[in-house]
Symmetry: C2
Subunit: 144 residues, 2 copies
DNA sequence: ATAGAAGTTAAAGTAATGATGAAGTCAAGG
DNA sequence: CCTTGACTTCATCATTACTTTAACTTCTAT
């Protein structure tokens, strides 16, 4: 009756920590459990272990994954995403998230600007994509 | 003594067509010949064949590859790039290139805007990434 | 005409990004 | 205790985006 949704399985009185399982994070992030494990293996998220060797995540894990997927959609690799999150504390405050979000948006903007300028360079003036680039030797200097 | 750079190997009097080889295109685009063949197999570029079954490309091939690499940097897959180029004629005029470039920039902008809005949705208000989602007992005195 | 650079195909390999399945372990309810 | 669902690791498979290899063929310069 209630096996699908996992609830708190240990009454942690600590302060504000949810010991989320792989399945919890997967459900919250909308990805497969295998993806959650994969992300941990690549440093996108991190986990502690229970005495029984099971992973436990904080609530930020699902968030990292959400942000990571967004980052993928604008061209960042998993490695770049892990790198992006490297500056994020274990228990990030809003300002930390804001910093990461700003960096991500900046990177996306940087890529967009590069796209724009490279496209313009490629088609400087009116002839897009420089259709006469490598033709210095039209039909001379070659004996044929 | 000069086998490295391929030159014009057939005197084509047509009008302005260069029959580029795989190696020519690879050099112009700055990729490996194998990549050029791969791009052809995926419909990013197209080739005619010589009587001896060798590929010959027009000058637009290198350009397509240049643009394709840019597209990859903002998150498009090879399939999406081929799709993007589907609207590009065999011998595109500047306006055709412009159309493609505009579509590409638009798509990149679309993704950037989605990144922005999703990030904002994720951290609506001041709490970025909704760190209180599943929390019941959080010390919510924070609201600076 | 010929040497050798560059081209051909098909198949296999690599790296990134996961999904799927097997065999076994852990935790909670009856 | 025992079942059952969710977890564990490890292996294998899939897809994308290419690269490499092998066995040949074609092209170009001399």
């Amino acid at each position: 009756m209630m096996g699908t949704e996992s609830s708190i399985r240990q009454t942690v009185e600590k302060s504000g920590q949810e010991p989320l399982t792989v399945g919890d994070v997967a459900a919250q992030a909308g990805v497969a459990p295998s993806a959650v494990r994969f992300y941990e293996s690549r440093g996108v998220i991190s986990a502690t272990r229970t005495s029984g060797n099971q992973r436990r995540f904080s609530a930020t894990a699902a968030c990292r994954i959400h942000v990571g997927r967004l980052a993928q959609s604008v061209g960042l690799s998993i490695g770049e995403i892990a790198e992006l999150f490297a500056s994020l504390p274990d228990d990030p405050e809003p300002k930390d998230w804001q910093f990461v979000a700003d960096r991500l948006v900046s990177e996306a903007e940087r890529r967009l600007e590069k796209l724009r300028s490279d496209l313009e360079a490629l088609g400087s003036g009116s002839r897009l994509c420089d259709l006469g680039a490598a033709l210095s030797n039209r039909d001379e200097s070659e004996l044929n």
